[in-house]
Every structure is written in structure tokens, then in C-alpha cells.
Amino acid sequence: MIKELGKNLGFIAYKLGAEIAPATNTSYDASSAGSFALLLAALAQEADRAVETRMSDIEAIRALLPDDSALPLRPASWHLDDVNALHADALEQLIDVHRWAEENDAALDRAIWQFLNEHASRHALELG
């Protein structure tokens, strides 16, 4: 097991971008390797937090949905694909509720915008 997966993926991304990419033979290959390095850096950020961010979204959305909404309490498993499936289900329901709230419930509309801001911050990538 590699401990501190995100941090160590970040080191690999840095080596790829700073050491390997410049040593390639063409600027096309260098740019391609640089893009892979950035992608790896994004994956490094996501690795540690992927389940947490999605479950935080799901719980926040649950609080915005009607009491009788049919959103499962847990994903089918903790495999990321299953967490993503529940996350997609929650977002679909949120979109429907938001459409309704815009016309019918200003307070709920504001709460959903607040959620969307928090959601974007939770998932933000910082590759600066």
C-alpha cells in the first residue's frame, strides 16, 4: 500500500511535468506529457477526497429534497462507481427541485444556490 496516496501521486505528477516532459524529443511530446502531468496532479487531489466530497454533496442535497424523496441512504457499495451513481441520482433530483423552487419557493431557491456554491468549492481543483 502507498500511504498518503494523493501526496505521492502529486510527487509523480511533478516528476512527469518537470523532469520527463522537458526531456522528450518534440514539443508535441513535451506538451502531451505536460498535460498528463496536470491530469495526474488533478487525480492526486481527487484521490483522497473523492468519496468524501460526493457523500457530503449527497447529504446536503438530501436536506433540500422533499421528505418523501426516494434517495437511497447509502450507495450500493463504497466502490467509486457506486458512489458516483448515487451522487448522480441526488443531482438529478436536485435539478428538478431547483426548477420548481425558482417559480415557487424563493427561500429554497436561495438554499440551493448556497449548496451549489459549496458544491463547487468542495470539488474545486487547484493546479495553480
Partner: protein, 372 residues
């Protein structure tokens, strides 16, 4: 997957920016697949002896490849730029659309590379292709605008950039002749919104609550149809023009998304915060308000503030649609080019935050200034 076109993705990311001067030796693969067949083809078509000296690929979009090719034609050396569609592209190619647009604009005061040749027979080098003369000794990378000697010329470059766009807005589609091969929409804003909303709903791999809220906002605030139609570049931004180290702009590139529409579409797109590192500096060049003033002076047009706000929000939604489509292309397509995944993830993340700053009732203002 995008069907209108796919722009070269000029990612505004600096972490591993590479500006290398590699020795661009022609690889044996490029020599076999492009160099040799192209030399034979050009010799036939031009009726002179043509040899290909080198071929190097330019990094950019994955579904439309761009190459710099050094040829020797009748003993004279010259560089050309070849753009190729993938072999699976439809017959009515993006190559033809872009090539005809280059022909329409070439010779006006809007600088573009000289279009040399269009070949839609996909069997020659594995896809329809076009050739253009290279505009040499120029940069196009957005990141270079922040580096010396270019940053010292930011004002000069910015003045030209938005003056040229204003000049484009001052011409009618009929003047340029683009109405001969482009559709004229009855309601440009409604037409563009319908197109890009459909891209999002077709291509998104995961539900998009911010995009959906943005589409509803745009539907509620749709401006009236305009009679002021012009040629819209469709991807007018930093990264799609060539500039020299004295600050002169020598070429506007990448016209494959060109269409007839509202002149405000290009202006809003060029000002999107995505194209710069600072929200208030458009394209790393000029303050947004200054850019708008230059455009107005060059175009002779005045701006309806409410309509322009609509186009600014639309620009961010269109960007989001392109990034979501890139992710879909990476996920389902044959190409596993990193740039598609990077755009589909990193740019989606940033564009979502820009949209939130634009239409959320309580914007944080971290990613976009208020709409102009």
C-alpha cells in the same frame, strides 16, 4: 460529441507550461503517413517538384490535427501549416467550412494565414486536409502573454485584438460573402442557446445542476432577435491569434466555429474570465471595460447592456458545453489524448465556478467580476 466543431483547447494553466525548443526531427511515422504522400500529392496538384523536408505536429485538439511542414517546392523552401480531419469525419467536413471562411476573410484588414489548398479526399493522408501558409516568428500561447517581451506589449496587443474584432463586427456577412455557405439564423441568441444546451444534455456524463440553472436563466432572459448580423469567429480569444515580439498581431486563427450571428457573441466570449489569470484583465491583456471601449470605437456599434449581459452568461455556458463534450469525447471516443480529459475536468470545474459568480444570487466574486 461536438458536431459543430471542436476548438483547440488553450488551457489557462501555468503549472507545467512548456515552451521548449526541441529539435523537431521528422519521425518515421509522420514521414510515412504525411510527408511522402503529401509530397507526391502536391507535386501532382501544383505541377512542380515538391519535397517534404520535415513534419512536426503542433499540440492542440485531438480530433483535428495540426502540423507544421517544411517543403521545398521547385527548389524554394517554405513552411506550411496542414490541418487534418480524422478519417471518420463526415463528408461535409469542418475543413471545408473553415477553409471557405479563411478565403472570405483573407485579403481584408483582418490578418489570417493565406489559404493554399483544400483536399477533401480522405484517402491521401488519412483525412480531409487544408494547407495554409505559415505565419513565421510568432507566438500563440496565452501563457506567453505574461512573459517578457510580450507582457510589455500587452496594451498594444490588446488594442489590436479588440480593434480587429470590432472591425469584423462592422462588416456584414454579405460583404464577406460568408452568407453563401453559412446559414443565417432568425434569432441568433435562441439558435445558439438551443445548440449548446443540446450539446450539454447530450454529452454530459454526470448531471449538471449549474449548467441547467444557467440554461433556465438564459431562457428567461432571452434578448429580442437582432437585425445586426455579422460573421462570428466563434472562438475569438487569447490562444487563437499570432503575435510577434514587437506586439504586432499577424494572424487570427481557428475559424472552424465561425457562423453568422450577433457581434456581441464574440465580444462576450473574448472577455470570459476563463481566458485570463485575473478576472478583471481580459485575456491577460486589458481591463474588460477598456476592451469593450476599443471594440465599440472600432465597430461603430453601441452596446445594449441587458443584451450584453445575456451574451456574457451565454459565453460561460458555451465554454462549459465544450468542456463537457471534451470529457465525453475522452470517455467514449477513440482518442485518449490527455488534453480532452484535462479540459473535461479542470476546465469544467473552473467554468462552473465562473457561472456561479455570474448568476448566483449571492456570488462570491472569486472567479468572475460582475457582468458588464
Amino acid at each position: 460529441m461536438l458536431t459543430q466543431s471542436e476548438p483547440i483547447l488553450a488551457l489557462g494553466i501555468s503549472a507545467f507550461h512548456l515552451h521548449s525548443h526541441h529539435n523537431e526531427a521528422m519521425t518515421s511515422k509522420l514521414e510515412e503517413t504525411i510527408g511522402k504522400p503529401l509530397a507526391g500529392y502536391l507535386s501532382r496538384v501544383w505541377g512542380i517538384e515538391v519535397a517534404v523536408d520535415s513534419v512536426s505536429q503542433i499540440y492542440g485538439g485531438a480530433s483535428r490535427q495540426t502540423y507544421r511542414i517544411a517543403i521545398i517546392a521547385d527548389g524554394e523552401a517554405r513552411n506550411v501549416i496542414l490541418r487534418r480531419d480524422p478519417a471518420t469525419s463526415l463528408i461535409d467536413t469542418e475543413r471545408r467550412h473553415e477553409y471557405l471562411t479563411y478565403q472570405a476573410v483573407y485579403g481584408t484588414d483582418i490578418p489570417v494565414p493565406e489559404p493554399l489548398l483544400l483536399e477533401e479526399d480522405a484517402t491521401i493522408i488519412g483525412g480531409a486536409f487544408s494547407l495554409m501558409a505559415e505565419i513565421a516568428n510568432c507566438e500563440s500561447a496565452p501563457a506567453m502573454l505574461a512573459e517578457s517581451p510580450y507582457r510589455e506589449h500587452a496594451d498594444k496587443i490588446g488594442n489590436q485584438f479588440w480593434s480587429l474584432l470590432g472591425g469584423l463586427a462592422s462588416r456584414s456577412p454579405e460583404d464577406l460573402g460568408v452568407d453563401q455557405f453559412m446559414d443565417t439564423p432568425e434569432h441568433p441568441a435562441a439558435h445558439e442557446l438551443a445548440y449548446w444546451a443540446n450539446v450539454i444534455r447530450t454529452d454530459a456524463l454526470h448531471p449538471q445542476p449549474i449548467a441547467e440553472a444557467s440554461i433556465r436563466w438564459l431562457e428567461r432572459n432571452l434578448p429580442a432577435a437582432t437585425n445586426n448580423l455579422t460573421l462570428v469567429h466563434g472562438d475569438y480569444r487569447s490562444g487563437n491569434f499570432l503575435y510577434a515580439d514587437d506586439g504586432e498581431i499577424h494572424g487570427i486563427l481557428d475559424w472552424e466555429m465561425a457562423h453568422i450571428g450577433s457581434p456581441l457573441e464574440d465580444l462576450a466570449w473574448s472577455l470570459d474570465p476563463l481566458w485570463g489569470n485575473e478576472a478583471h484583465i481580459a485575456g491577460n491583456l486589458l481591463p474588460r471595460q477598456k476592451a469593450v471601449e476599443i471594440w465599440c470605437a472600432a465597430s461603430g456599434l453601441t452596446i445594449d447592456a441587458q443584451e450584453f449581459r445575456w451574451w456574457q452568461v451565454f459565453a460561460s455556458l458555451k465554454g462549459l458545453a465544450i468542456w463537457l463534450s471534451s470529457a465525453e469525447d475522452f470517455h467514449n471516443g477513440a482518442s485518449k489524448d490527455a488534453i480532452l480529459a484535462l479540459a473535461g475536468w479542470v476546465m469544467t470545474d473552473r467554468q462552473n465556478r465562473i457561472l456561479l459568480d455570474r448568476i448566483s444570487p449571492a456570488p462570491r466574486g472569486d472567479w468572475a467580476e460582475p457582468l458588464l
